[in-house]
Symmetry: C2
Subunit: 322 residues, 2 copies
């Protein structure tokens, strides 16, 4: 039995056919159609899905459902998306129902970070855990929660905004209007901004020029320099880990999870961020929950989107069977 | 059907017989026996319970279970207490099993803050909600979580330590070893300390002398002065509410609850703290979860301990019936 995972972004539509062990049988990336017409968009998604299933060599009868993960806000009543970042055509459209009608398959729609956490819980680093905190570090900082073995969505389907807890009540102003949000310290701009403040403005030495990412200082470039021993890059990632650990200490004291899984592009920096975060958690969180919560890198990094989306469909089928 | 609620502290043993609507039929307070022998302690608890049931006029067949709430840390395997604050004799003793043996009743033991939150969920301010954050403000700041209609205990039975999230990563050192914990700003010492800094050390005017609590400046005295219009007392409680709202904003962004219930002695200050907390939440939390989460005073203030303990027994019976 296979699930179609659809990772929907403003630029790319990523599709995959994933089995019940989380293994990808076939995957493909298409450009997202640029249109204001949600019906034409849904038609194009259905087309791409038809092509992917045909190319995979699977029979439609082997496809048990479609999961859609998208950056956006869930609507509480019907599990549709209120709002999709960079795809205004789909806001309040009812994408799940539209795809259900076109494909004749069960369709589950959710936030892409919830999807990522579910993938880690079902098939990745957090397999076998019951209570999991998932975080994605990238342009933004997202989060999702597995509580007692189920994705926890909250009273109005927006639980898990882990990037928006304040670690400094009078800290940096965040786009969300709050001050000192974790996101401002550990997202792409936070990391690059701190590096540049020291490198460009303070003139501190670094070998970063050798590791630029398409000519730019990015978290990837900083991680590459740090891996090669660059002290300034290591310091900036160490600080990033400490900020992360500070926020996670509170989260761990509140939720007492077995595992905290960190994904998103910046998680590629791995132990350079995770190890200082662990030290900070050991210093700040209560001893018992600190010992209980293992902090690990996500198992699915590049394919998290499609595996996560397929996991949404898989989990929905399992819930329906209960 | 009735449940015995036993609120166990180092000084007082509070007992009550509570029905399935959360109504107290009979209650009594006894001094906690001062002994190092846990068996003698358990005997004395059983004695007091026998006396309370006899005095209530109930038949033992009408008593469906005993719930015990105590300040302490739960053990994960068998739901006993690892550690009871101010009652070292009971640490690692197996109080639940001992009471079960003596009384022949189903016994449920839990942390007293979990008990309080459960009482609010079953019979108090949060009745009918599915996702509830409960906080107690007193000498310490405790917390408990109802997630999807059940008390959430976490991976090692210590979830809900809401007092120990840092709102200032380099803030005041907390007893727990972390810096800037909410508890340091909104507990008894935090409130009284800020009042005294302004009143005693800065010499700011206040009518507090008219409202002293057994001769002392306490949160109760400050609340009484504030209610009578004292500007300094009002300011200190306003600030307390802002600290509370800052921490709750993060908690609301993470958990997206329908309700946040605030109990404990300091909750008697009511709107003087809750209203500035609401304003802070409106400024800091995401709009949707901020609108969703109602912040209210606990329904059970003085009897929270026994009603909560009885609620533990009631919830355990309901779970067993599933």
């Amino acid at each position: 039995m296979y699930f179609i995972g659809m990772d929907l972004g403003g630029t790319d539509l990523k599709l995959g056919l994933i089995d019940q062990t989380g293994t990808i049988r076939y995957k493909q990336v298409y450009p997202t159609l640029n249109t204001d017409d949600p019906h034409r968009l849904a038609d194009s998604f259905a087309d791409c899905i038809e092509r992917v299933v045909a190319a995979s060599g699977l029979d439609w009868r082997e496809v048990a459902g479609l999961g859609i993960g998208a950056p956006g806000l869930m609507r509480s009543l019907d599990g549709e998306l209120d709002f999709v970042t960079n795809l205004p055509a789909l806001s309040n459209f009812g994408l799940g129902a539209a795809m259900r009608q076109r494909l004749g398959l069960p369709v589950t729609v959710d936030n892409d970070v919830n999807a990522m956490v579910l993938a880690e819980f079902l098939h990745g680093a957090a397999k076998g855990c019951r209570n999991v905190v998932g975080l994605t570090l990238g342009t933004g900082v997202g989060g999702g929660l597995i509580i007692d073995g189920r994705l926890y969505r909250g009273a109005s389907f927006c639980a898990g905004e882990l990037g928006h807890i304040s670690i400094e009540s009078n800290g940096l102003l965040c786009n969300c209007g709050n001050y000192g949000c974790l996101e401002r310290y550990v997202n792409r701009d936070g990391i690059v901004g701190r590096f540049e403040a020291l490198y460009v403005h303070k003139g501190q030495a670094s070998s970063i020029a050798r590791y630029l990412d398409h000519g730019a200082i990015t978290p990837l470039a900083i991680a590459a320099a740090a891996s090669a021993g660059d002290q300034l890059a290591r310091f900036v990632l160490f600080e990033t880990g400490r900020f992360l650990g500070t926020a996670l200490s509170g989260i761990i004291n509140i939720l007492n999870p077995e595992m905290v899984v960190v994904g998103g592009g910046i998680a590629n920096a791995g132990e350079l961020i995770l190890e200082p975060a662990r030290q900070e958690i050991a210093r700040r969180a209560y001893p018992l929950p600190a010992r209980t919560a293992r902090l690990v890198q996500a198992g699915f990094l590049n394919d998290a989107g499609i595996v996560g989306a397929a996991a949404l469909a898989e989990a929905a089928l399992a819930e329906a069977a209960l």
